[in-house]
Amino acid sequence: MVVTKLNRIDEIFKQLRATKRSALMPYLMAGYPDIEASLSLLISVAEAGADLIEFGIPYSDPLADGPTIQAASEVALTTGVNTDIAFDLVKKAREKIETPIAVMTYYNAIYRYGLERFAGNAAESGVDGVICPDLPPEEASPWSEAAAQYGLANIMFAAPTSTNERLKKIAHMSRGFIYCVSLTGVTGARTNLPSNLTDFIGRVRKVTDKPLAVGFGISQPEQAKQVADIADGVIIGSALVSLIGADRETCTDAAAAYISKIREAMDS
């Protein structure tokens, strides 16, 4: 079954580009802090102004992630969440929200589940794209093809260490947007943006006009604003996850409030 309708991710970037705004792209994790709450969070964060949500499927060996997301993954896995449940959460969220959703997980979760099956079930649940941090272009073709077959965007990573050659290859292959890693390192909130970020984004811009989203390390409204000025999307991961982990009772409201504040700063 080939899905032909325009992908929600392409749609949103088209809209934002038209209004010269940047996308706010928070990261949530299936099963964190528990399964139900992660569904409420999807909805409340969307309603608070998220343009796209990255929805992580927790993994036992998250080697691109820093301590915050590692710890969250461990907690989430104890809830019994798995790929099927994660897809189911998206399906349920789709009853309320139309915000694009990109699932984020490690390649083994896709490989073991079965490439076609993963793509098919994801697409059917209302997932729009997949982000896989340990799948560089050299190894991405089988998955890219399976994803394309189901109208899923396979979103690829660009890093400051990528040569221009590699950036071209990545840009060419990536769908939806390009995930630009702000720094050499793992996920995790940091207090300052790397000084060479503008140069790096400039380098990527030179090889593509696909949307560029920047992630890794962004936590403060001012940082989001600065990134919004040079990129098409601002990814907020660990900062939001740690806020959610701080108080489970109030996390839905707190997350919404935090996203509104970032939204405000970005649009200011």
Binding site: L63, A64, E74, Y111, D134, A158, I170, V181, G185, V186
Partner: protein
């Protein structure tokens, strides 16, 4: 048959590859280029051979185990004595090689992962000798169980960083080392300890370890005037096995890799991905591994810490699927018995890892005859395991 893998992309058939964050891809390309440049460089080769000879103590002996042979009364049994290497295991063959390469690449710092500490100590040793800054990641659980090895690394000038994520053991230490590498990729060389990890590691580590097989071949021809019939080696990540197998691939010699069956293959508490695992991606390459139906990695178990790993080098997966080697497994209990047998018969305490290879004799020797020749790779010495063996046998020290 000439075996010419991996291909350009680091694949062994469907196995291998480079499944790592984009941040590391350039570093892997650089490493690949540097390795390609130096591996046949006469100066590099001379220097490597110099340290193999004058520091590691190569060639190691190929020892005819007369008592053990008498005990079974079947095939002649030889032991390749990697336990006599400086440091007590084959691991140093690889770390000296990688250190010499890292020096040429202008790296100042080395990081490594370690389980029980064998590769950590071997890395720390190479780092001391070549004046690298060195940090070793080790599961917090393991730092407690192996505190002597932690201190040993400290004495060698290496800092050991306890890893508190996940199962707090080897696989998590490797995750953490990769995270460090992602962060410090420009100054740092990541010294992987087996034929695992993303390309070019499985190839490079194999090449640094194949000296075991090259020597064995030459020594065997000299002693017996012919090739052996069987070569047996234990398989954790698979470096000592690949090292001794590689020069014999396609020659007709039966190559047998032994995985740890832990409490038994049916208990689910083992470390035998080739025997009981499924294909998947771990630590940068596609290979057989222990995982659940959703691809979550399952913890391994073996009495021998060096075999306690849920993955295996991708080339072994290729060997298995293509019949270039066979793989079998040995339980904790069987390994313990072999540990005791070799100690008593030959006065040689094998590493518990190597004891798995020795234990396989029980399963295969009956089908051999006195004219057959078996070589067992004695990958390390057992002094490090004496406490573990005592505990397992219920002996209070």
């Amino acid at each position: 048959m000439q075996h010419v893998l991996p291909d350009e992309r680091g694949h062994y058939g469907e196995f291998g590859g480079k499944f790592v964050p984009e941040t590391l891809m350039t570093a892997l390309e650089e490493l690949e280029a540097a390795y390609a440049r130096y591996k046949d460089d006469p100066k590099f080769k001379t220097e490597l051979e110099f340290y193999q000879r004058t520091y590691i103590g190569r060639p190691t002996l190929l020892y005819f185990a007369e008592q053990l042979t008498k005990h079974y009364g079947k095939a002649k049994i030889y032991l390749k004595r990697e336990d006599l290497c400086h440091g007590g295991a084959h691991k140093i063959n690889n770390t000296i090689g990688q250190a010499l390469l890292a020096k040429r690449m202008g790296k100042k710092r080395i990081i490594a992962e370690t389980g029980a500490g064998q590769h950590g100590v071997a890395s720390a040793t190479a780092a001391a000798l070549f004046e690298f800054e060195c940090q070793v990641y080790m599961g917090e659980e393991d730092t407690r169980r192996q505190s002597l090895n932690v201190f040993r690394m400290n004495l060698l000038g290496t800092e050991v960083i306890p890893v508190t994520s996940g199962t707090r053991t080897l696989k998590d230490a490797m995750n953490e080392a990769i995270r460090d590498w992602v962060t410090n990729v420009e100054t740092t060389h990541y010294m992987i300890g087996s034929v695992a990890g993303p390309h070019p590691y499985p190839m490079m580590v194999r090449d640094f370890q194949r000296i075991i097989g090259d020597e064995t071949r030459e020594q065997m021809l000299k002693i017996e005037g012919r090739m052996p019939d069987y070569i047996i080696a234990c398989v954790g990540g698979g470096s000592n096995a690949m090292g001794i197998f590689y020069p014999f691939v396609g020659t007709g010699v039966k190559l047998i890799g032994i995985e740890p069956a832990g409490y038994g293959l049916d208990t689910g508490r083992h470390g035998a991905p080739l025997t009981k695992g499924d294909k998947g991606v771990l630590h940068g390459s596609l290979s057989y591994l222990l995982q659940d139906e959703y691809g979550q990695i399952l913890p391994a178990h073996s009495i021998s810490a060096g075999l306690d790993y849920p993955g295996v080098g991708p080339e072994h997966s290729y060997f298995k699927d293509n019949g270039l080697a066979e793989y079998s497994s040995i339980t904790d209990k069987e390994a313990l018995a072999a540990f005791q047998l070799l100690s008593k018969k030959e006065g040689i305490l094998p590493a518990l890892e190597s004891a798995h290879a020795v234990a396989y004799l029980e399963k295969m020797i009956d089908k051999t005859s006195k004219d057959d020749i078996i070589v067992i790779n004695l990958s390390g010495r057992g002094d490090k395991d004496v406490q573990v063996v005592a505990d397992a046998l219920g002996v209070r020290l």
